[in-house]
């Protein structure tokens, strides 16, 4: 077990002008479970592959356990990886797949079979040990893939969207298995996902990656409650935060922001000019037209059971509101919109958070 660090890692493919990874620096202390969160195309998988040694960074260094391993071959780094899909050897049984990493390293037969059995018991694979991957369900396949990564007790475990292709039940089962394993044997783990819930279930710390740059790191709670910029803010939650552009006016009574038809009193002192306001759907409420901070037209009503998503057209952009229960709003009617002013997020015109 060892700490992992990236120092200014940049990765460019071919002669492309935009690098996939741009000066990424990241510290993962020994035994930590870090989740890399980002939309597809953010460079998450490339980052993992650079860490594993399957790809060479164009610039920068990769450190595992205080040692620079940038130029070391993958096999020498003692890193294991669970791939998104299709990484089980189809011609070997589950037992063969689990034993493969140990066989390659020349472990004795007796030890191999003991370790495989132990792991199988831990991950609940005893009954499928002699089956081929093609006859397994997706959840079982990923469980075996996890087992194959864990069997040789690597220094670093890399999980590349391991739950991505699974149905909800297998997904939560496997997430629980990962969490349990990590609690018992805290191996340094870097987990990649684009799913917020998955990140929040597993991670102690989250790094948000977008456009090849680390946008923010912190606990899930920090990242959720205080997103560093509007990209992160939009990424958090489903649907993400509404962002409205407006103009702030400093008055005697306080500061007010005019966003299209909405006039929002804000707890900001002495701010004047262009501003971006973020508000989560659950902090938007509606009332009869003419009441609240301004009127907007209902465009789309999406009931989902516990609550209803209401798309409101303010004329300057769409605001999504999450209203508890079912709703009797006919699309096209005007409603009054109110924001919970204690839950507002402010960003300057470049998208950075205003403290």
């Amino acid at each position: 077990m060892s700490a992992v660090a990236l120092r200014g890692v940049t990765k460019t493919v071919g002669s492309a002008s935009t690098p996939i990874l741009h000066q990424v620096s990241l510290e993962v202390p020994d035994g930590e479970f870090l989740t890399l969160l980002g939309p597809s195309g953010a460079g998450k998988t490339t980052l993992l592959r650079c860490l594993a040694g399957l790809e060479q960074p164009t610039a920068g260094d990769v450190l595992i356990g205080e040692q620079v391993v940038t130029r070391s071959p993958p096999g020498a780094r003692d890193v294991a990886m669970v791939f998104q899909a299709q990484a089980l050897y189809p011609h070997l049984t589950v037992r063969g797949n689990l034993a493969f990493p140990l066989e390659v390293r020349g472990t004795s037969r007796a030890l191999i079979s003991r370790k495989v059995l132990m792991l199988a018991e831990h991950l609940g694979l005893e009954r499928i040990l002699d089956r081929r991957p093609a006859s397994l369900s997706g959840g079982e396949q990923q469980r075996v893939a996890l087992g194959r990564a864990l069997v040789r007790e690597p220094k670093v475990l890399l999980l590349d969207e391991p739950l991505g292709h699974l149905d909800p039940v297998s997904r939560s089962d496997l997430a629980a298995a990962i969490a349990r394993w990590h609690a018992e044997r805290p191996v340094t783990t870097i987990h990649v996902t684009q799913d917020l819930t998955e990140a929040f279930t597993l991670a102690r710390r989250v790094a948000v990656l977008d456009g090849g740059r680390i946008r923010q790191t912190g606990t899930p709670r920090e990242v959720y409650l205080a997103p560093a910029d509007i990209q992160v803010a939009r990424m958090m939650g489903r649907p993400g935060m509404n962002v409205l552009s407006g103009t702030a006016h400093h008055l005697k009574a306080g500061t007010e922001v005019q966003c299209g038809p909405l006039l929002i009193p804000v707890p900001l002192r002495e701010y004047e000019g262009q501003i971006l306001i973020g508000i989560r759907p659950e902090n938007v409420s509606i009332g009869p037209a003419g009441r609240g901070m301004g009127d907007a037209k209902a465009r789309l009503v999406e009931p989902s059971g516990p609550d209803t998503l209401l798309h409101l057209d303010t004329g300057e952009g769409v605001v999504v509101a999450r209203i508890p229960g079912f709703l009797d709003v006919v699309p096209g009617t005007a409603v009054g919109v109110t924001f919970d002013v204690t839950q507002l997020h402010f960003f300057d015109s470049s998208g950075m958070r205003l403290s």
């Binding site: 592959r49 594993a52 040694g53 399957l54 071959p73 993958p74 096999g75 020498a76 890193v79 294991a80 990886m81 791939f83 998104q84 899909a85 299709q86 990484a87 050897y89 189809p90 011609h91 493969f100 990493p101 390659v104 390293r105 081929r132 093609a134 194959r148 040789r152």
Partner: protein, 589 residues
């Protein structure tokens, strides 16, 4: 198999039977008529030759060969008597002396029977002397009836009937299906009627043709015996009438009336022999049973088959309303491929097997059944064994080339530019003949084709280059199908290049390797073109040996037997390769 499936198969089988039997019904009657005509004419011509070869009209043994030859010449040039005729004295052809001689087996089988014999599209009739059972010559007649004008009508009606039947079947249990079925029945009956009349017309044409030609023979023979009275002539020439009857014509009608009487079908044909002598040739009764059988057979087959299809569809899947249309369209789409398969693969294979078990004569296209005799014969030649041995040696290049191609494919994947791939894939772009000739002419300068052994090894090298061109892309395609994550995972586990190849690449590539290897061996064993273009010093590989045996020595039957043996050996080899090496291979791999 489910019940629906059984009916589906039955329906399909019935459709095939319909077409086949209707086709047979339309062509069978005509073939039957042709055969009738040829057999009768051959018998008449044989009787004619036996009578006219002596001055007295009495058959004599020994036959005078010179007189016989003259008569045969006369026969071949008689006016209004122009069948495709050949006369053999013993086994020697007289009309066309350059033709192949008659097999002794034909004479043997003719000597044991009295009537004409039908063999491979021609009728053979024996010419007998006075000694009982002694055949001195044979007359061969090939039928040449005028073209059948009803054939387009028959085919049109067959098509209409099939169409109506199909519609009736698809409309089964729908609103108007009974009417469609009625229309179909009418059409099937009309087909039967036309088929019957066509069959009858063919038989009649055949009889009239025979009647006229026999009349010509009797006229000619009669004119050689100018003083014999009608009654005696009728007795002397009785045998010329085959299964008809010859009698003196006693009618007192004027000459013109008598001559016209012969143009009515079924009526006796008057023959004027000069000197007031008239004979009357009475044709045999038309065989109505045959006509009816053909017509009824065709109609019944047609009706029965469509009825079976209709029944099968009717008892089909209620839950799946569109399946009749689907079955129909499936058959429509399958038909061209099926016809292609049957016409170009299955039928020739059948012919090959038939030829292989007969003592087959390349000139007559027929021969006696010998079973495995051909195989024993061909295997008793030392040539065969040396050709087989050389082929085995030649085929050994296939596994070596496969290993080489796999190595090259693995290298080519790492190659920085696609040029390497193109170069590896390029050789088979040239045709094998062109490549062989280019190589041959280029390498002949070094004397590589001067000796059989060096020619063999040179051929192995050329074949290897061509094979690599086919195999590398196949391996590249196979490698592309293996997910890259498998190698990544193995790399992370610390597996080196050799372990990755042994434990992952090779097992996952095994189905590709296996098919390439089997194909390579098959191509090598069948290797004909290369050896053929190499010229006179070409190593006598099995395929070339087959060719020499069949077309140079004219023993297609031996060649066919050897070809079948080779096919069996190859199939066994392929099965062994798959069984032994393909063990543990997974379906999904």
């Amino acid at each position: 198999m489910t019940r629906v499936n059984v009916f589906r198969w039955a329906g399909g089988l019935a459709a095939v039977v319909t077409v086949a039997s209707a086709y047979l019904a339309t062509t069978g009657s005509r073939r039957f008529a042709e055969r009738r005509y040829a057999e009768r004419t051959a018998a008449s011509a044989a009787a004619y030759l036996a009578r006219v070869s002596t001055p007295t009209g009495e058959p004599a043994v020994p036959l005078d060969p010179a007189a016989f030859l003259r008569r045969v010449r006369v026969l071949a040039t008689l006016p209004d008597w122009s069948p495709d005729v050949e006369v053999y004295l013993g086994t020697a052809p007289l009309v066309h002396p350059t033709e192949a001689s008659l097999p002794l087996s034909t004479i043997a089988s003719l000597s044991s029977r009295n009537a004409a014999e039908w063999l491979a599209g021609a009728a053979y009739a024996p010419i007998r002397g006075t000694t009982p059972g002694r055949v001195v010559g044979v007359v061969r007649i090939r039928p040449h009836l005028p073209a059948d004008t009803t054939a387009p009508w028959l085919l049109g009606l067959l098509g209409l009937t099939a169409l109506l039947g199909a519609i009736a079947a698809t409309q089964l249990r729908r609103r108007l299906w009974a009417r469609w079925l009625g229309a179909y029945a009418v059409s099937a009956l009309a087909f039967g009627g036309v088929a019957a009349s066509a069959a009858h017309a063919s038989l009649q044409t055949a009889t009239i043709q025979w009647l006229r030609e026999t009349a010509v023979l009797i006229e000619d023979a009669g004119s050689r015996l100018p003083h014999t009275p009608s009654l005696a002539l009728a007795e002397t020439f009785k045998s010329l009438a085959a299964d008809g009857a010859l009698a003196p014509d006693t009618s007192s009608d004027p000459v013109l009336e008598r001559a016209l009487a012969g143009t009515k079908p079924g009526s006796p044909l008057p023959i004027w022999l000069g000197g007031g002598r008239w004979l009357s040739l009475q044709p045999p009764l038309e065989d109505w049973v045959v006509t009816a059988r053909h017509a009824f057979g065709g109609t019944a087959a047609l009706a029965g088959a469509i009825l079976l299809i209709a029944l099968s569809w009717g008892s089909g899947d209620r839950e799946h309303p569109g399946w009749i249309e689907e079955t129909l369209s499936a058959w429509v789409f399958l038909a061209p491929a099926g016809a292609h398969l049957v016409a170009l693969t299955i039928a020739p294979l059948g012919v090959l097997i038939w030829v292989a078990v007969h003592h087959w004569d390349i000139t007559t296209g027929s021969g006696a059944f010998v079973g495995l005799g051909n195989l024993v014969d061909v295997l008793s030649h030392a040539d065969t064994w040396s050709a087989l041995g050389r082929t085995a040696l030649f085929a050994l290049h296939a596994p070596v080339v496969t290993v080489l191609a796999l190595f090259l494919a693995l290298m080519a994947r790492r190659a920085p530019t696609p040029v390497v791939r193109v170069l590896l894939v390029a050789p088979p772009f040239a045709s094998v003949v062109a490549a062989g000739l280019i190589w041959k002419n280029g390498l002949a300068a070094w004397g590589l084709f001067a000796q059989p052994w060096s020619a063999l090894w040179t051929l192995v090298c050329i074949a290897a280059v061509l094979q690599i061109g086919y195999q590398v892309p196949a391996f590249l395609a196979g490698l592309d199908r293996i997910p890259g994550a498998l190698w990544d995972a193995a790399v992370l586990d610390g597996a080196g290049a050799w372990i990755r190849f042994r434990r992952i690449t090779e097992p996952l590539l095994r189905p590709v390797t296996l098919s390439i290897l089997v194909t390579g061996v098959v191509v090598a064993v069948q290797g004909f073109t290369l050896a053929f273009v190499t010229g006179p010093n070409a190593p006598d590989l099995a395929a070339l040996h087959l060719y020499q045996l069949g077309w140079r020595q004219g023993r297609l039957d031996l060649a066919a037997a050897l070809a079948i043996l080779l096919a069996v050996v190859l199939a066994t080899l392929a099965v062994f390769q798959v069984r032994i090496w393909g063990r543990g291979m997974t379906d999904e791999a």
